[in-house]
Amino acid sequence: MKILVAVKRVIDYNVKIRVKPDHSDVDLTNVKMAMNPFCEIAVEEAVRLKEKGVATEVVAVTVGPKAAQEQLRTALALGADRAIHVESDERVESLGAAKALAKLVEEEQPGLVILGKQAIDTDNNQTGQMLAALTGLPQGTFASEVAVDGDKVQVTREIDGGLQTVELSLPAIVTTDLRLNEPRYAKLPDIMKAKKKPLDVKSPADLGVEMATRTKLLKVEPPAERQGGIKVGSVDELVDKLKNEAKVIS
């Protein structure tokens, strides 16, 4: 079985996000970039399935700028066998990514597609679901456990207040939650070997996909700075302030 894994280049989670002075977007100048942590979990799961003998090939895919090849190399170092880069310098929306992935699913015919449930930059949580819709494949989202059994996969999903286990027929789409696994670190021997692994570059046009954005980014605001607290002298003063200044009670 072949597994297709999607990965995304995002700002490293250790780095503080800064907004451009004109609020037009997040400032990416000189910022350390890395693989989206949920995507690392997806790669790890695919590699583990290969190590267990369930999968025979792991193909890592990204849609994004040229620099995103760094994240594909990381996926290859973590154990993916080959990589496909759909190169696009446009802002990539969930739908655009899903359309490109859908075409690749058609070309590659994987038994399983694993994606992160969301990327930590835009937190959309859409691509996996859109891909399922476009391909007509069953989906198991927010996976905390994935067990392949013959032509079925059991996916344990993290839902509000508990766990839900669903069984899907393969081929299927799975998106990963945080507790699915603990991804390994890329080791130097693997980083070296990764350079020799094949990496195909395609354009959206090669796939016949239109990447034009359908949403317009109007404004980016950093979280409001917290105001300093004050000490109130009496219960009456507190009630007065909650009513008239904070306007949280009436």
Binding site: A186, K187, L188, P189, I191, M192, K195
Partner: protein, 653 residues
């Protein structure tokens, strides 16, 4: 030709204050790390006595702290208590008996404190609270009571020196020490009578000199040591030096001229300028000082040979020459020059490794070429062996040459066998690096010593200890050196890999983007980086240590690192090599094991030290033979350990 004709100026007497200096050769003040507990000991007496015995005209003793707050390392002399007087008297007598004149340096470092006496961070005082860059010291500005106390401590220390029979005192206003901190408007931010105008900034020195004269009158020579230019953005230029000397001229008997400042890495290089500086490189500055002054001048700064000193004096750049490292390297230099034996002088090569290098490591002074230096109590005289033996030395590098020379000087019949065409070992490669050509002087000096000791030298001779013993040699010293070490490397491609020292042997130099991997922090890694960058390569220097040239003496290192920076050499630190493929080199970060990858590489060069050519199995084979291993074939180290191994092995026969 007599010395009078060859060196007419160098060997003419000169008067400083009440003292007549018998010649113009000066052993200037320098830390030795010989004293213990802040007082004069046998080792220091023997060290200075030896220089006096061989004809040094003026010996200026290493710094003496005048006040408790002057302890700038844990191992300096202190002159803040009358208990110090007998020690200084011993020195005055030891030097005086040979006709040398002894002066002492009176010292307060101000903020220039490396460590307090217990090794902790110091409480340091300065003109103002302006931070010191090199040691990371934030000083306290002195109170006026504090200033007065320190002024009086200079006077009290001078009185003690006078009582001890020392003939002169020298106040250190050089290298950014406390008096210079008052003079320097970038460090002195005071708004009282000690800060602001030049008249105010020089007041501290005036008070110090007046207090000293009050104590010692004209019975002692009183001098000032000053940097003619501190050679740093944060330091003082020549204008302040000239103004200071002019202003104080009437209070002084002489000035001692140096350059640089202790406060910064770049400025401190001039405290002991390495071999990349020309000989007598401060002559020009000294000339221009002299045109403004009538004060006798001592000039220091890479004056290594008597003919250079003669020229400095003849040209009028100075009246006396500080030849400190020349005398550390060859205490008999004045006597040899006087008897017209310039070829017999073991010339200092300015490597800085065992003189100032030992000081920075907190160990007693020595010399890589002359390990007897600083060890006068052990090796004042090589002596004669009781039984003369036939001795063979295998390997003509520094260890073998020194062993052969010393053994022959002790009366043995010595043959030195060298497999190659020429003597010198790895020093032959060392001298090929930029700014290191003088390192070859090590070989020249040792060859001269071999010749004089009448060692028979046989080159292009491959010999074994077994065969030599069978031939009748009674002792065999093996000094066959090391071969370059190659660390384990994961090679997954065709990237060319070379040994740094192999490149120096004349093979064509790699171009393009060259990565140099250096685990040693010695002269090879930084030297090859400079060489390749000068030849047009783009160089990345990946070092296993914290910074490039980590094991080099800091003045050698910092001047080299500055040149690498100018040449655009990129430096990676904390690197441990893992491997290479066709065009990338892969490293681990030694602090956290994170991978570091250098891409677009054309060549990898290794500078990873050596491994001994003599194996433990060889040792077993020779177990019954009278064999001693010395130098890198025993354990790969530097020329210093090699030469010292040679000395020790030969002294044991």
């Amino acid at each position: 030709m007599s010395a009078q004709e060859l060196f007419p100026n160098l060997f003419s007497p000169f008067r400083i204050g009440p003292c007549t200096i018998p010649n113009r050769i000066v052993f200037t003040g320098h830390d030795t790390c010989l004293p213990e507990d802040g007082i004069v000991n046998d080792a220091l007496v023997a060290y200075l006595e030896k220089r006096a015995r061989h004809g040094t005209g003026l010996i200026v003793l290493q710094v003496s702290g005048v006040h408790e707050s002057a302890r700038y390392t844990s191992h300096l002399l202190m002159a803040n208590d009358d208990a110090c007087i007998p020690g200084y008297r011993r020195l005055a007598e030891a030097c005086g008996q040979h006709g040398s004149v002894l002066f002492a340096q009176l010292f307060h470092p101000g903020r220039e404190i490396m460590e307090s006496s217990d090794g902790l961070r110091p409480v340091a005082y300065s003109a103002s609270g302006v931070p010191q860059e090199r040691f990371g010291v934030m000083p306290r500005g002195l109170s006026r009571a504090g200033i007065h106390e320190i002024v009086e401590s200079f006077a009290a220390a001078a009185r003690r020196m006078c009582l001890a029979g020392i003939q002169g005192v020298e106040i250190l206003a050089s290298h950014g020490y406390l008096p210079a901190q008052f003079l320097n408007p970038q460090v002195n931010r005071r708004d009282d009578e000690y800060g602001g105008s030049f008249a105010n900034r020089v007041r501290f020195l005036e008070e110090v000199l007046d207090a000293i004269r009050r104590e010692v009158g004209d019975r002692m020579a009183v001098g000032l040591r000053l940097s003619c230019d501190e050679r740093d953005e944060q330091g003082m230029g020549q204008d302040i030096a000239i103004e200071t000397l002019r202003h104080l001229e009437s209070r002084l008997d002489y000035a001692s001229v140096v350059a640089g400042t202790s406060a910064t890495l770049g400025g401190s290089v001039h405290i002991v300028p390495p071999m990349s500086y020309e000989s007598a490189y401060l002559s020009k500055e000294s000339h221009s000082l002299r045109s403004d002054l009538s004060l006798p001048l001592i000039l220091t700064g890479r004056i290594n040979q008597p003919h250079e000193a003669e020229e400095v004096i003849r040209s009028g750049a100075a009246d006396l020459c500080g030849m400190t490292r020349a005398l550390i390297c060859d205490p008999a230099m004045p006597a040899k020059a006087r008897r017209n034996d310039a070829d017999g002088i073991r010339a200092c090569i300015g490597c800085n490794q065992a003189c100032i290098g030992h000081f920075h490591r907190g160990i007693p002074i020595s010399c890589i070429q002359y390990p007897e230096s600083g060890r006068e109590l052990l090796y004042d005289d090589l002596g004669r062996a009781e039984i003369s033996r036939r001795v063979a030395v295998i390997g003509g590098g520094p260890a073998g040459m020194k062993a052969a020379m010393v053994a022959a000087a002790r009366g043995h019949e010595v043959t030195l066998f060298e497999a190659g065409r020429r003597l010198g070992g790895q020093a032959n490669q060392a001298q090929l690096l930029p700014g290191r050509s003088e390192f070859g002087g090590l070989i020249t000096n040792l060859m001269e010593e071999l010749k004089r000791a009448e060692v028979e030298v046989a080159t292009q001779r491959h010999v074994t200890p077994q065969a030599l013993v069978a031939e009748g040699f009674e002792r065999v010293i093996v000094a066959t050196g090391a071969r370059p070490y190659t660390p384990p490397l994961e090679l997954l491609g065709e990237l060319p890999v070379s040994q740094a020292v192999a490149l120096l042997d004349g093979a064509s130099l790699p171009g393009g983007h060259v990565v140099i991997y250096d685990t040693q922090g010695d002269w090879v890694g930084v030297g090859v980086a400079e060489l390749l960058a000068r030849e047009g390569a783009r160089v990345t220097l990946a070092v296993n240590g914290l910074h490039p040239g980590e094991s080099l003496q800091s003045y050698v290192r910092d001047s080299t690192v500055a040149r690498l920076h100018d040449l655009g050499v990129r430096v990676m630190t904390y690197a441990r090599v893992f491997g290479a493929d066709d065009d990338s080199v892969y490293f681990y970060h030694t602090g956290g094991a994170e991978p570091m990858v250098v891409e677009g590489v054309d060549h990898l060069v290794l500078s990873c030290g050596g491994e001994p050519v003599v194996s433990p199995e060889d040792e077993d084979r020779w177990a019954t033979l009278p064999v001693t291993l010395v130098g890198d074939c025993l354990a790969p180290r530097t020329a210093e350990e090699a030469v010292y191994d040679g000395l020790k092995a030969a002294m044991a026969i």
